[in-house]
Amino acid sequence: MANHYYNADDLGKFSGIDKFQKPLADKFFAWYGEVFAEGNLSAREKSLIALAVAHAVQCPYCIDAYSSDAFEKGWSEAQMMEAVHVASAIKGGAVLVHGVQMMNKVKEIAM
């Protein structure tokens, strides 16, 4: 067992997850491929969404993959950073909006 949890080389081994359970992996990769194909949203737009989500879920593999992919698909550094800010804002907002729940609770129990 490696003595660290994340290894950049593991990204390249992703397709090998089918070795333990092939039918599910096949379904996942087929679905994944279709999700990112040209559709009502372009593959280019989807790439930028993926980049933002990758940051929100803080997945180093996805950040690696979609930083390259989004740049290759022509998004500029500034556009990519704005997408990351959108992800951050939603994450930050998601924390803060729970403040309402906190207030509700406090109001409920406070004299």
């Binding site: 040209e38 372009s42 593959a43 280019r44 390259s68 992919d69 290759e72 698909k73 022509g74």
Partner: protein
């Protein structure tokens, strides 16, 4: 910025480049890739044979008004190698005697900088060949005497193929130099003004996209759509097709890969993306490439690595269609650049 040659850079020695491609940065085989030959054998494509000789590509000189960071020619204002009229005449004799060549593809450097460029074009046209000029766009604005190039191209029914690495200033200038984007846009507008690139027009204007960095081009179709949309909206520019080209790991692009520590990752990317369908359609199968001094190569890349054709007809003075048609094309590790993903050629994707 100077050419590698003018800097007396170690990579201006083609042997050094080949050593790195074959044996890694330290020449010690610590970084090893599957030999390209092995991949081609597995695809039943080795030895690689020509199909039909159709395109006669001529590099009329290495002089250029630009010094792009990725240039596989190591071109620039300091390069003095230039084709003479006498060598051009030898090319014309071959073209006259070999009707299988339908297209003459003129490249450089900036081909227009050759003092005999216009004479040569007129002579090729007399032979009724289709002519492609690889025009870097900025040359049209570089000096007053080139301002009429769009008209000249039109008069000789030339197909213009021009590099525009991106539709934004930032990415273009990073690769091609400060101010290149603005001049390229002006030049494209001048070409549009005489009819080039307009839908339905016979004046064909195709653009070349190549990545400004250590990555592969994304799909040609979607890039074309995006380029068309933005160039029309922002600059009222039209063009016909976009060719997405992969940067080959030689010359100044190799230098960039090494300096930015991207070499190994980039090579792995190319190898992983190897596509046998693209391999079957590589451009060297229907093209021959002629250097400024009249030597014959399988392609412009082999030319820049000084890997001449592997047959007895190595110079235009010894030209023989039969001998060249039967030769084995010389391949090496840089060829992975032509076979990655949708493939890459002077006409863009091939698969």
């Amino acid at each position: 910025m100077k050419s590698l040659k003018a800097q007396q850079h170690i990579l201006s020695d083609t042997h050094e480049q080949i050593e790195i491609l074959e044996h890694g940065i330290n020449h010690d085989d610590s970084f090893k890739l599957i030999p390209f030959q092995q991949k081609m054998e597995a695809a039943g494509l080795f030895p690689l044979k020509p199909t039909q000789l159709e395109i006669f590509q001529i590099n009329v000189g290495k002089m250029c008004n630009q010094v792009c960071k990725h240039c596989h020619v190591d071109a620039g204002p300091d390069r003095k190698e230039i084709m003479t009229r006498e060598t051009m005449q030898q090319c014309l004799n071959i073209l006259a005697a070999n009707p299988s060549f339908k297209t003459v593809d003129l490249t450089g450097g900036a081909p227009e900088l050759n003092p005999d460029f216009r004479w040569f074009v007129a002579k090729i046209k007399e032979l009724d060949k289709h002519i492609i000029v690889r025009c870097n766009l900025t040359i049209i604005l570089a000096n007053k005497k080139y301002h009429d190039l769009p008209e000249f191209f039109k008069q000789h029914s030339i197909e213009v193929v021009s590099s525009l690495p991106f539709y934004s200033k930032d990415r273009t200038d990073r690769q091609r130099g400060d101010g290149v984007f603005e001049d390229s846009i002006k030049a494209l507008q001048m070409l549009n003004a005489v009819g080039y690139g307009i839908e339905g027009s016979e004046q064909k204007l195709n653009l070349v996209y190549n990545p400004a960095g250590a990555f592969l081009p994304s799909t040609q179709d979607s890039l074309e759509k995006e380029f068309k949309l933005v160039l029309k909206k922002d600059f009222d520019i039209s063009f016909h097709s976009l060719y997405a080209i992969t940067n080959l790991p030689i010359s100044r692009f190799l230098d960039y890969l090494l300096q930015s520590s991207n070499y190994e990752k980039y090579m792995e990317k190319l190898v992983t993306a190897y596509n046998p369908v693209a391999a079957a359609n590589v451009m060297c199968r229907n093209t021959v490439s002629i250097s400024w001094d009249g030597f014959i190569y399988d392609c412009d890349f082999n030319q820049m690595l000084d890997m001449k054709v592997d047959c007895s007809a190595q110079h235009i003075s010894q030209y023989s269609e039969a001998v060249l048609s039967n030769r084995n094309i010389v391949v090496n590790q840089h060829c992975y650049g032509c076979t990655a993903g949708a493939g890459s050629s002077c006409g863009g994707a091939v698969a």
